[in-house]
């Protein structure tokens, strides 16, 4: 048995070697099919393996190699051209051969792999009919013992190269190489740390001769000897040859970066912004098209394209955003030193713990976040952490700890600064604020603890009894708030007296693209950053109360102060306000405000655009965005809006339109009547009927035209004669639209129609018509109805 085992080992080593060479030779053969030398070499390999395997009773392997040999023999004698197809089958058979050899190595038997298919194809190529019998190998039970022996060899510390197949050898080489590289790297790092300048890892010089596997270059002219070379030497050689290749690749993998001008990234970001706008527009159009061509087959295709575009745009946006990301550690790095200096200066013992420094943020935000953090940490050191003696007296450890951590939360990043100091005292904060005139006594009474904590951000506020060089001038925290709000971020403070303070800064990942809630007021739209929207509520007018000249409403258990967006942005009330309104509850830190709007349009992803230097810094406006329809919508600056809301006095919700400054009519032609009818004849008939009165007549061909004329406001109409059935916009709709405007609430609308049904009359009344004239009518009747409704002065007759 030992003898058999020895022979088997020799056979395997030799075979794997041969096959490795075979692979290379065969590929070469394909490009040089006429190279007889090559063919001879390959044939001999197949022949050798076949001979040995038949001697060792590996029937399946013998069967396979036999047919390979046939094919190659034919090719050698020029009876068969080596085509790509033939080559495919030959290569496949070699792969099978490899698998078989691996199995033999592992189990000492060649069972378990189906070679019949391949053999049939080989047979067909060599001119046979393909009906060959594949012998079935039976794994001899006796060989199990040897397996154990083999495994023992494997488990020894020194890897047994002899027993490895090509892949394993490669893996082993790779592993050793990796080990070597890591050692080198560590050495380099150590050198760098020691201050030596070390050139970037140079690509290891590649030895030409070694790079090319020697056996391949020299096709053996004589039959390959059964044991061509001593195995160990072969192993080292292949080791060298392979080592050269990965070594050249390895340095390139180490940190592949290029420096890019930030301007280019900004430009890229702008372009993505444009793309997002175009995508929004495309989606809007898609919805329109869907409505118009419901059920058409092409819609599905369109839908697919739109969703792909939308998906890719989003991915692209994220990808570009990522290129601009920097780890926040860049900012955090300067704090340990700062804390050290501060603790010496203040005679305190403070430790800083930093975590999450690898969290990434947009470059522009990383640049902006530094100053606020410096202020907050200085504040914690100065006002938060107590001096050691007090700490010990309070039962705390002598040294205070400030924890600085950053982490992602949804679409935002949170930077949290905790200290285990004395905490904030809401009562003290309130008293101080009242003292300094920042808030009134009444306000102080109503304040929750959270609102009291927020007082530290008020300009002019400082809790420090004495101004130190570190803080206490009452400027810092105010600046923190402004800076954070500039980044669309929010600050949240939690504090427990005697235990510590925790400050959370929540900052969006990027500044360029935000989620916004679009609201409507009258005919205008505004975008509110969704990050500041807590909720939206629909209310009716009688839920609004007035307290101390301010509108308020009850929201669950709280009282929410309200302000109408129209009052802040000076929106002209041209439309009649309906019975219901929507309240957008805005939250910024601990302060809340209810913003009354007329309509909620929806949520949209918007790209913030600057309005240029000319309109920079308009109070309450953070910027503008371009909507899907190409129009511009302004973005609300929530922080500024809350500030402005304080100055706005509550106005009566329903304002009477002050357009009562109607001029005294001095002539008959001062009266203006609009005739709306799609039939020219009808318009003529009406005109003829009214002409005797001497009033001014304006005509419109349909409802839309009439509405446009009215909106332009060139004329002050005293009455309108409206036909019901008209294209584009019918009379009922027109009347409804007109009645939406405060200004035209009292404008007499007179229906002139041939519809005589009772339901028609009812609809007319519902839509706001005050008179209903049925065609045909007499000229006098029409004139008298008009006279009556415009309060026509009799002296003009």
């Amino acid at each position: 048995m030992d003898e058999f085992q020895e022979i088997l080992q020799d056979f395997l080593v030799e075979s794997f070697e041969l096959i490795e060479q075979l692979d290379q030779d065969l590929v070469e053969l394909e490009s040089r099919p006429d190279d007889l030398e090559l063919l001879n070499g390959i044939f001999r390999v197949a022949h050798t393996i076949k001979g040995a395997s038949s001697f060792l009773n590996f029937d399946v392997l013998t069967h396979l190699t036999h047919h390979m040999e046939d094919v190659l023999n034919k090719a050698r004698h020029g009876d068969l051209a080596i085509t790509a197809e033939v080559m495919d089958v030959v290569l496949e058979s070699i792969d099978l051969m490899k698998s078989l050899l691996s199995i033999i190595r592992d189990t000492s038997s060649d069972a378990g792999i189906e070679v019949g298919d391949c053999v049939v194809r080989l047979d067909i190529i060599s001119g046979g009919k393909g009906d060959v019998q594949t012998p079935v190998a039976v794994a001899p039970a006796a060989k199990v013992v040897e397996e154990v022996v083999e495994e023992e060899v494997y488990s020894s510390d020194e890897p047994d190269y002899d027993n490895m197949d090509a892949d394993e050898v490669e893996a082993e080489i790779e592993r050793l190489l990796q080990e070597r590289q890591n050692q080198d790297k560590a050495k380099r790092a150590a050198k760098i740390a020691a201050g030596e300048s070390v050139p970037e890892a140079p690509p290891e010089p590649m030895d030409e001769a070694e790079a090319k596997p020697a056996p391949k270059a020299t096709p053996a002219p004589a039959p390959v000897p059964v044991a061509p070379r001593a195995t160990p030497s072969r192993a080292t050689e292949s080791d060298d040859a392979k080592a050269a290749a990965p070594a050249t690749r390895a340095p390139a993998v180490v940190e592949q970066t290029i420096r890019v001008d930030v301007k280019r990234l900004d430009h890229l970001m702008n372009l993505i912004g444009e793309l997002v706008l175009a995508k929004n527009r495309l989606m809007k159009i898609n919805v329109d098209v869907e409505e118009r061509y419901e059920g058409e087959a092409f819609l599905e295709e369109l839908n697919q394209v739109v969703s792909i575009v939308s998906l890719v745009t989003t991915d692209l946006q994220i990808a570009v955003m990522k290129t601009r990301m920097l780890p926040i550690g860049k900012v955090f790095n300067k704090f340990p030193r700062m804390i050290r200096d501060l603790s010496r200066e203040l005679n305190k013992k403070i430790e800083l713990e930093i975590s999450g420094e690898e969290t990434e943020l947009d470059k522009s935000i990383v640049e902006e976040i530094g100053d606020p953090l410096v202020h907050i940490i200085r504040n914690s050191c100065d006002h938060g952490v107590e001096i050691p003696s007090i700490r010990v007296a309070a039962g705390k450890t002598e040294s205070g700890t400030i924890t600085l951590k950053a982490y992602n939360e949804g679409n935002a990043i949170v930077i949290q600064i905790d200290d285990d100091g004395k905490g904030l005292d809401p009562e003290m904060l309130k008293n101080k604020s009242v003292e300094k005139g920042i808030i009134t006594d009444a306000e102080a009474d109503l304040m929750s603890s959270k609102e009291a904590f927020a007082l530290i951000f008020k300009p002019g506020f400082s809790t420090a009894a004495a101004v130190t060089s570190v803080s206490g001038r009452g400027v810092g925290m105010d600046v923190v708030k402004t800076n954070i709000e500039k980044l669309n971020g929010i600050i949240d403070i939690e504090s427990e007296l005697g235990v510590g303070t925790s400050m959370k800064l929540k900052i969006p990942l990027t500044l360029a693209i935000i989620q916004a809630l679009l609201v409507g007021v009258q005919e205008e739209h505004y975008a509110i950053p969704l990050a500041s929207v807590l909720e939206t509520v629909r209310i009716s007018k009688d839920e609004i109360y007035t307290v101390e000249n301010r509108s308020v409403m009850r929201l669950r258990d709280d009282v929410l102060s309200l302000v109408h967006i129209g009052d802040i942005f000076e929106v002209e009330r041209i439309l009649d306000s309906s019975e219901h309104a929507y309240v957008v509850v805005l939250g910024l830190g601990s302060s809340k405000l209810g913003l009354i709007v007329d309509t909620l349009v929806g949520q949209e992803e918007i790209v913030i655009k600057s309005m240029g230097d000319y309109l920079k810094g308009i109070e309450g406006i953070a910027g503008a965005t371009i909507r899907g329809d190409g129009g511009v919508t302004l973005i609300v600056d929530v922080a500024a809006l809350m500030q402005m809301a304080r100055g706005v006095k509550a106005k009566a919700m329903v304002e009477e339109s002050s357009s009562s400054s109607k001029k005294e009519k001095t002539r008959a032609s001062d009266y203006k009547v609009m005739i709306v009818d799609d039939s020219k004849t009808d318009r003529m008939i009406m005109r003829k009927a009214l002409e005797p009165l001497g009033v001014t007549i304006v005509e419109a061909g349909d409802g839309q035209e009439a509405l446009n004329t009215l909106k332009q406001g060139d004329h002050n109409f005293d009455a309108m004669l409206i036909d019901i059935e008209m294209p584009r916009m019918d009379g009922y709709t027109l009347a409804g639209e007109i009645k939406k405007y405060n200004k035209y609430k009292n404008l007499p609308l007179i229906a002139v129609t041939s519809r005589t049904g009772k339901s028609d009359r009812m609809r007319g009344v519902e839509s706001g018509m005050i008179e209903y004239i049925t065609k045909p009518y007499s000229a006098d009747y029409l004139a008298s109805v008009v006279q009556r409704n415009v309060n026509f002065k009799s002296e003009f007759l």
């Binding site: 929106v571 240029g612 230097d613 000319y614 109070e619 503008a624 190409g630 511009v632």
Partner: protein, 164 residues
């Protein structure tokens, strides 16, 4: 025939050369009407002239700031020169145009009543603004006289400067 052609070509050549000789002395302007008067701005400060499009009102601004509009993806302020010049606002007509002026990074659109024409004017034909309004903060760069008409040439940097 060929002689004649030569003559014409020569003549054209002369014409082409002559302005270059005096390029320094000639200013190209674009004239427009606001109210009753004709104004002009240097042609190179005009980014483009477009027909009126939809704009969005911006609150907290003077009356002559109509708002902002979308010019191929850029948000640009729109100013009404009539109101700015103290005239009654007029409804936009078919002849109304938006003048998009650009100087450096500053871009703004201006509503004008009517476009007249591109004008080439000699520098020597441009007089200083009348003394009464020739202060530094005046918007008038000079007054051009040509073929019996008077052009008020405006300072584009003053037009584009925010004054509220």
């Amino acid at each position: 025939m060929s002689d004649k052609l030569k003559q014409i070509i020569n003549k054209q050549g002369e014409q082409q050369i002559s302005p270059i000789d005096h390029a320094d002395d000639i200013i190209q302007l674009v004239g427009f009407i606001i109210g009753e008067e004709e104004y002009a701005v240097p042609i190179l400060t005009i980014q483009e002239i477009i027909k009126p499009i939809r704009w969005t009102r911006v609150p907290q601004t003077p009356a002559y700031v109509l708002g902002v509009f979308n010019l191929r993806g850029s948000v640009i302020p729109l100013l009404d020169l009539r109101t700015k010049f103290g005239l009654r606002p007029l409804k936009h007509s078919d002849e109304t145009r938006f003048f998009v002026l650009k100087q450096g990074d500053e871009v703004a659109g201006f509503v004008i009543d009517r476009l007249t024409m591109a004008i080439r004017i000699k520098k020597t034909d441009i007089g200083a603004a009348p003394d009464t309004i020739a202060a530094d903060d005046s918007m008038i760069a000079g007054v051009g006289k040509q073929a019996g008409r008077i052009l008020t040439i405006l300072k584009v940097d003053k037009l584009l400067a925010r004054d509220f």
